[in-house]
């Protein structure tokens, strides 16, 4: 038996994802069903509330926009939270076996992506029901934005997973930050409706731009914020290289602090 081969690294990634799933959904179909239901229930709640605010008139267009916003926000929120806990969740193993630790981060972020993939099923149903029909260019642009977002989430997790080991209350702070991000990311409104200083501020929020561009691309076939997306891709790339350096430098001593 040769240990720690390429095939083993692949199996390790799959096994960690599988384990994550089992633990999070209690190994049950019902648990798995919750992945689909959570954002959807959130959606229903916000839809009812904001429809009431907007004069009580339910609009399929608002619904599709809201749902897409929630699903993307959920991806980012889970990516940040799961990614941050990637190392501490495996503390017991990290203390005892020397395995390629970056796999832990990959599996954590992947988990958020898998959840996202399942959530898009609801979106697909809406598209089939005819509330919107994506164009090919719009769809491809949406895929590009998503890939960039996931890549950024991975890069951020290279930092946050290490930092959480050293700063134990970081997760409280991050939960608050993610709440704030929810309000400031145009999830249940559109940045087009925002003006003044607050509007300016929100336009500086990358997630607000990601959500806005995704909506326009997928629901209306408009390709917007191209420059911003390219800048964000480059920033993610820089973050990825720095994150890798940071991770490699700190991971060697992580077992002492975990």
């Amino acid at each position: 038996m040769v240990l720690h081969t390429k095939a083993n690294h692949r199996d390790l990634l799959i096994e960690l994802i599988r384990t994550n799933f089992k633990l999070r959904y209690n190994n049950s179909i019902l648990g798995f069903f919750w992945v689909l239901m959570k954002p959807f229930l959130y959606f229903l709640m916000l839809f009812v509330v904001f429809t009431a605010f907007r004069g009580g008139e339910a609009s399929a267009e608002y619904g599709a926009n809201l749902l897409l916003g929630i699903i993307i926000y959920t991806l980012v929120n889970e990516g940040v939270i799961f990614g941050m806990h990637a190392l501490t969740d495996l503390a017991g193993v990290i203390l005892k076996v020397n395995f390629p630790r970056q796999v832990a981060v990959t599996s954590a972020v992947f988990m958020a992506v898998v959840n996202f993939a399942f959530n898009t099923v609801i979106l697909l149903i809406l598209a089939i029901l005819g509330s919107f029909a994506p164009t090919i260019e719009g769809f491809l642009y949406f895929v590009f934005i998503l890939s960039m977002t996931i890549f950024a989430l991975y890069s951020i997790s290279l930092f946050s997973s290490i930092l959480l080991v050293k700063i134990r209350d970081l997760h409280h702070i991050m939960e608050l930050v993610m709440q704030l991000v929810f309000w400031g990311s145009a999830v249940f409104y559109s940045i087009d409706d925002m003006s003044g200083a607050f509007g300016q501020l929100i336009r500086l929020n990358p997630l607000a731009l990601v959500i806005h561009a995704s909506r326009k691309a997928l629901l209306e076939g408009d390709i917007i914020h191209v420059k911003a997306m390219i800048i964000m891709s480059l920033m993610s790339l820089a973050l990825y290289f720095l994150g890798n350096l940071f991770f490699k430098k700190n991971i060697k001593r992580i077992a002492e602090f975990i």
Binding site: M1, V2, L3, H4, T5, A7, N8, D11, L12, I14, E15, T19, K22, L23, G92, V93, I94, L95, K96, V97, N98, F99, K166, I167, R168, D169, L170, I173, K252, R253, A255, E256, F257
Partner: protein
């Protein structure tokens, strides 16, 4: 012997122990400019030895003498602060209780997870599955969550998985003491058969009789320093006289 399988070259391990703990943002906010003094603590000091293939080496010493730290450095879990470790082969660590099982998963699921974390492929674990279950004698409990296992059952399962790794080097830290007498005998005998097939073992144990019976050499640690390295009987004598317990023979 041409080349040692493990070479520990002047290794020191320093832990920095802060005078107060600072691992929350709150503490940074409350006292942003406060300097926290640190104590440099040598858990290992200039440790130097070589181990040849086929050796079964006992590492003994009092609590806190650095035995677990040494094994973690050999396993690549800790980095040495100074010095170098050369390991010429595959290594399976088997350190302290728990061994990285997930209590919420069943025995079956943990066999796969643990085997793969130790470096096996899923296919290989599958091919060895029955052997593992039989060796651990937990066939009836295989689909029970590990949190409902007794601590002896956990160790048996962990040991059964680890031996299937067919590694060149096994590190055993205090793990066999939990199993019942029958399992201890069986597992140490299994270790010996692996050793006779060319494996190398390092055993940390407070059970002097096990060390006496199985190890052909001991390393005695005292406050992070090697104070003896040589034949088992001699090393144990020195250790026992240090502890003020003269052996009864």
């Amino acid at each position: 012997m041409d080349k040692p399988i493990i070479k520990v070259d002047n290794v020191s391990k320093v832990f920095e122990i802060p005078h107060e703990s600072r691992n929350t943002l709150k503490s940074y906010f409350l006292h942003p400019f406060k300097r926290i003094g640190k104590e440099r603590f040598y858990a290992l000091k200039s440790v130097d030895f070589e181990i040849n293939q086929g050796d079964f080496v006992g590492v003994i010493g009092r609590n806190g003498s650095g035995k677990s730290t040494l094994l973690k450095i050999l396993a690549g879990i800790f980095e040495p602060t100074k010095g170098k470790v050369h390991v010429n082969g595959t290594l399976v660590p088997f350190l302290e209780l728990g061994v990285g099982f997930n209590p919420e998963l069943t025995g079956r699921e943990n066999i796969y997870l643990n085997g793969i974390i130790l470096g096996m492929t899923r296919k290989y674990v599958e091919s060895k599955f029955d052997e593992i279950v039989d060796f651990a004698e937990i066939r009836d409990f295989i689909d029970l969550q590990v949190k409902n296992y007794s601590s002896g059952m956990v160790i048996r399962l962990a040991f059964a998985i680890a031996v299937e790794a067919r590694a060149d080097i096994y590190l055993l830290d205090e793990v066999l003491s939990v199993g019942d007498a029958g399992f201890q005998k069986k597992s140490l005998e299994k270790m010996l058969s692996l050793l006779s097939n060319g494996a190398t073992g390092i055993l940390v144990s407070h059970n002097i009789n096990d060390v006496k019976k199985y190890c052909n050499r001991v390393i005695l640690l005292k406050k992070g320093e090697v104070v003896f390295d040589g034949p088992t009987d001699e090393g144990i004598k020195i250790f026992e006289s240090q502890m003020g317990l003269m052996s009864e023979e």
